[in-house]
Amino acid sequence: MSPLFKAEGIVKRFGERVLFDAASLELETGNGYVLIGPNGSGKTTLLRVLAGLDSAQEGKLVYRAREAAAAGPYPEPWRREIVYAHQQPYLFRTSLADNVEYGLARRGMVRERRAALAAEALAWAGLAARHGVPPHRLSGGEKHRAALARAKVLNPVLLLLDEPTANLDGEARAQVLELVRALITESHTVLIATHDPEIIRLAILTRLRVSAQRIEVAE
């Protein structure tokens, strides 16, 4: 079976600095992957290129056997199925429910159905009790969980998470970790960039290491 997502020959430069030089990776459907590497090695940048937020200088992206140049425009249909979450997630200054419903609304879903699915996702993330709270008043951990609920409700085929436990510790971190684990086991295809050891340690994840401007499968 061909892989769900492939990146081939990615070349990414920032001015003089070369971040990736003919880097490649493959993601199989239903698997979980963790992208590791030292700070500044380009994990976030790579995820952004895969998500279509940045373009590379050279290379090819292949999703479900459809190709697109990494240097060119990102195919719009991919955005319906590939969801990316920022390292520090941004929640719109409307309401918690609105945030979670946002993607569903873009798909033209009717209000009742959206609301129901959003409520489910918020409950899944343990945020049902925070229903009326303005998003900017949520704690750091709650914001991360809200972002995960917002992504999960869209039933993404490929989920790209950038440091889902960034700046969290203790209770908050544990809660987010729970959700990440749930996402992995619910057979979404997941790629997580992180240096959180508890995530890296998870046995079900295949480790991809960024090294020498390439990506290699690590043990």
Partner: protein, 231 residues
């Protein structure tokens, strides 16, 4: 000079619903609002584009817009007068001394204000807003709308500022409007006229209304912003 009596008369005029007086107030309001309403669908998206997309000459454009922020309104009036008069290039449209001429003048005056405020608002917006919207499946146009909504207070501040500027300006409105009773006489031009005629009651009444409008709109904005504006 006793000002108490004219002031008392002024309020009597206002509350008696004097038709001419309220006609003047109505003209000021509707032309100002219409100018902004017509500019909004152009300036807001354009401001977004200028803020986010690098094109040749972008910097020059932004600098030029800043430069025009305090452009003397009477000069706008002068140029517009020359253009709209019968001897001018647009004389055939017979727009001089009509409310439309004032409307056009207001649009010229408000344009740089709306552009500068919108560009600043979008540039100050968190870059994650647009990206988050796109990553959740929003088309570029929709993501633009979402971004603008997130910075709505900063954008609205531009409208409030522009409104305050046009509703109280007198140079342009007088030149291209002609201060015609019942047609192009708005609050500032009426104040100028009536005061010079010694009709202080009228001038005071209108001045009071203008003050309430100008201050009130700003207060309303600050109130609406509430916590949203002050992080």
């Amino acid at each position: 000079m006793d000002l108490l009596e004219p002031t008392r008369q002024a309020f009597a005029l206002l509350f008696s619903g004097d038709r001419e007086l309220w006609g003047i107030i109505w003209l000021s309001l509707w032309v100002s609002v219409a100018a902004l309403a017509l500019l909004a669908p152009l300036c807001v998206p354009l401001g977004f584009v200028v803020a986010r997309i690098h094109f040749p000459g972008r910097r020059a454009l932004v600098v030029a817009m800043q430069g025009f922020l305090s452009f003397p309104t009477v000069v706008v009036g002068l140029v517009l007068y020359l253009v709209l008069s019968r001897r001018g290039p647009l004389g055939a449209f017979e727009l001089l001394f009509t409310p439309s001429a004032i409307l056009i003048g207001y649009m010229v005056i408000a344009l740089p204000i709306l552009m500068v405020f919108t560009v600043a608002a979008v540039q100050g917006a968190d870059s994650r807003i647009y990206e988050t919207a796109r990553c959740l499946g929003a088309r570029p146009l929709r993501a633009m709308g979402t971004t603008l909504w997130e910075v709505r207070f900063a954008v609205t501040a531009g409208f409030v500022n522009a409104f305050g500027r046009v509703v109280s300006e007198v140079g342009c409105a007088l030149l291209v409007g002609g201060n015609i009773a019942g047609l192009t006489r708005n609050i500032p031009t009426a104040i100028a006229l009536e005061t010079s005629k010694g009709e202080f009651a009228y001038g005071i009444a209108l001045g009071f209304v203008l003050m309430v409008i100008a201050v009130g709109v700003n207060v309303a904005l600050a109130w609406l912003q509430g916590e949203g504006g002050l992080e």
